[in-house]
């Protein structure tokens, strides 16, 4: 049987399809790719692709082909080698039995994607093969991939949905959030003008930001009723730390949220590495496209 044998995996390599939508009322967020553009691009590199990708991080990934298969590799900028021979990134690969693929960090990006010409043969859970690491749901046994895991490739894929146009460079656009009016004018003004730094505290649940200006340090603590969370919500923790909530977010939360990253810019934000300066620019709903 055709399969991919994982020979090395970082701690956060997971299987992801487009996402497990429709389960918020049951308390389950959708998960799905951290960078939808890279996920889509990996599929478009193949004439037909399975709906499920391996999402890996800057820790990289290595695997051995068991049987002949094709792979689309995209998202971020990674270093790629087949049997020790370097290849360009992104890439479309034809692999034969025993070929060894090694992916190591490149100059940019936190997440990369591998899609195959067939579907990764894991059972869908609640309509999706996406892994929700917070809950331990879906994907490969509900967990991150490890060396020794064998992913069987099953039914033939289909032409993949194209990637949308990447959003422009520049500040990350936000809409003012659910609790923006609970922050004073100075905090709101500072939020929209000063820069934050992407910290090393980053995973599929959220990205913690360093706030060099300490603009939320004196923010008084608030006791708020829990409301629905959406990916991109920027909540301010009790100690003033801003955190941008990502694909494996809690479905509801009670920390104050000052703003929400617009959908088209969230993927670009997800690829920003620790140490990168990020600026937020409030826009109106009409300018969020």
């Amino acid at each position: 049987m055709t399969a991919v044998l994982i020979t090395r995996a970082g701690p956060l390599a997971t299987l992801q399809d487009a996402g497990r939508f429709g389960m918020l009322a049951q308390g389950i967020s959708a998960s799905g790719p951290m960078e939808r553009g890279g996920f889509a691009a990996a599929g478009v590199l193949l004439p037909q692709a399975g709906h499920t990708a391996i999402e890996f991080t800057t820790a990289g990934l290595a695997f051995r082909a068991e049987g002949s298969l094709r792979v689309g590799c995209a998202g971020g900028q990674f270093s790629l080698a087949i049997n020790g021979k370097a290849r360009e990134w992104p890439a479309q690969l034809r692999l034969d039995e025993g070929d060894e693929v090694e992916i190591t960090p490149g100059p940019a990006g936190n997440y990369g994607y591998l899609r195959f010409d067939r579907e990764i043969d894991v059972p869908p859970v609640l309509g999706s093969r996406a892994t929700n690491l917070t809950v331990g749901l879906g994907g490969y046994k509900g967990r991150a991939l490890r060396a020794g895991d064998r992913l069987a490739l099953g039914t033939a894929g289909a032409p993949a949905a194209p990637a949308r146009e990447p959003a422009a460079d520049g500040p990350i656009r936000v809409l003012w959030g659910l609790h923006a009016d609970l922050f004073d004018a100075k905090a709101r003004n500072d939020f929209a003008t000063v820069g934050f730094i992407v910290s090393t505290g980053l995973d599929r649940m959220g990205v913690r930001l360093t706030d060099p200006g300490q603009i939320f340090r004196t923010q008084r603590r608030l006791s708020l009723v829990s409301d629905a969370i959406v990916p991109g919500d920027i909540q301010i923790l009790g100690d003033g730390t801003p955190i941008v909530l990502m694909r494996d977010h809690q479905p509801t939360g009670g920390y104050p949220r000052i703003a929400t990253v617009v959908d088209a810019d969230l993927d670009r934000f997800a690829q920003m590495r620790p140490g990168t300066e990020v600026r937020f620019r409030p826009v109106t709903l009409e300018h969020a496209r």
């Binding site: 939508f21 429709g22 009322a25 829990s226 959406v230």
Partner: protein
């Protein structure tokens, strides 16, 4: 049902809207949110891919490519309509009141353990919302003299089936979670099974009668 609450319509990013009935939790606001979610589910709004009721609000998630402005207009038009009466299903949930905090909670409330258990199940509660984690339900409201704030410290992982108590509510963990609520017991009632569809048994608006398993 008729309510005097004035809902606020807020964008939650550019792909979702929130209809919020209040900024603090109340029985009226919660009932209104549940009723509105039922009304919208029964008569779908074009472009809305998902409706999720919360404690005092309803999330409407737009499908890919749908125009949020058009959805907002349609929601505005519908918010004036009377809300339906929600009659949820009834459930009985048995609890072993042997949690780490049961004795302390009873003592703080000035009750014996037996009195606390009796008062806890004195009448059925409503499922106020599912949220925080898969199948995690907030049930309320207990009588005002049973209201306790949350604990100062967060407890590391408590297992599925842990029964939690704070803020005039009882909650049931359906998956392992960290919690700042008081642990007052455990139940065999499993409200999350990913292999079932839907994966939860309790829905917002249902009635739950808690009963001592002993």
């Amino acid at each position: 049902m008729t309510v005097d609450l004035k809902p606020t319509l807020l964008p939650l990013g550019d792909r979702a809207l929130l209809v919020r009935y209040a900024e603090t939790l109340s029985d009226d606001a919660n009932r209104a949110a549940i009723a509105l979610a039922r009304a919208f589910a029964a008569d779908p709004i074009p472009g809305v891919g998902e409706i999720a009721p919360g404690l005092v609000s309803v999330l409407l998630r737009a499908t890919d490519g749908a125009d949020l402005g058009a959805i907002r207009g349609e929601v505005m038009l519908r918010l004036g309509a009377p809300l339906p009466d929600v009659k949820g299903r009834s459930h009985v949930v048995e609890i072993d009141f042997d949690g780490e905090d049961t004795g302390e909670v009873a003592a703080t409330l000035g009750l014996t353990r037996a009195d606390f258990i009796a008062r806890h199940g004195a009448r059925p509660l409503r499922v106020l919302a599912t949220g925080f984690a898969p199948g995690f339900v907030y049930c309320g409201f207990h009588d005002e003299d049973l209201v306790l704030p949350r604990r100062e410290a967060i407890r590391p992982m408590v297992p599925a089936g842990t029964v939690l108590f704070a803020a005039g509510q009882t909650a049931i963990a359906a998956t392992p979670i960290r919690t700042g609520w008081h642990v007052v017991g455990r139940t065999r009632f499993q409200n999350f099974d990913p292999l079932r569809s839907p994966p939860t048994r309790l829905a917002a608006g249902d009635e739950v009668q808690f009963r001592s398993a002993a």
